[in-house]
Symmetry: C2
């Protein structure tokens, strides 16, 4: 594996798991006041678009990563809408 | 442009600008309590890694997108560390 490919994979993995602690925190504390609804909604749309793109080009890593991200982001946006 | 490419570009653009409203909100309200430091730090590292990857493979769209994302994420993480 080339150094650039290793960095690309590391970025992809980190970008996939990084929203899990945010999802856990909002449901544990029920506090979402400082989360921007606009930012989180836009990012939810972003990961759904990446998922659709992954399905269209049949790219398995892109699909797997964006199923995880979409799940985390739905959890965060749901908390934001529920605990205002 | 193919439909999949159009969706890929839309995802890239949306994923680049989406954190700007969050950055504006935390500095305007000085409230960062519900932001997960872990999640935002990991995402900052993610966009820095994508930026390094973009520089290594000389991909201009990747560099431009991740300069914007890195700036937004530094702004958010700085607010989180300053306004505890």
């Amino acid at each position: 594996m080339t150094p650039s490919l290793a960095i690309g994979y590391l970025a992809a993995i980190m970008g996939t798991v990084c929203w899990i602690p945010q999802a856990v925190q909002v449901w544990r504390t029920r506090d979402t006041r400082s989360l921007s609804l606009m930012a989180n909604l836009m990012f939810l749309v972003t990961v759904i678009l990446w998922l659709i793109y992954g399905v269209m080009i049949l790219d398995v890593p892109l699909i797997v990563a964006n199923v995880v991200s979409t799940t985390a982001m739905i959890t965060i946006v749901a908390a934001k809408l529920k605990f205002k």
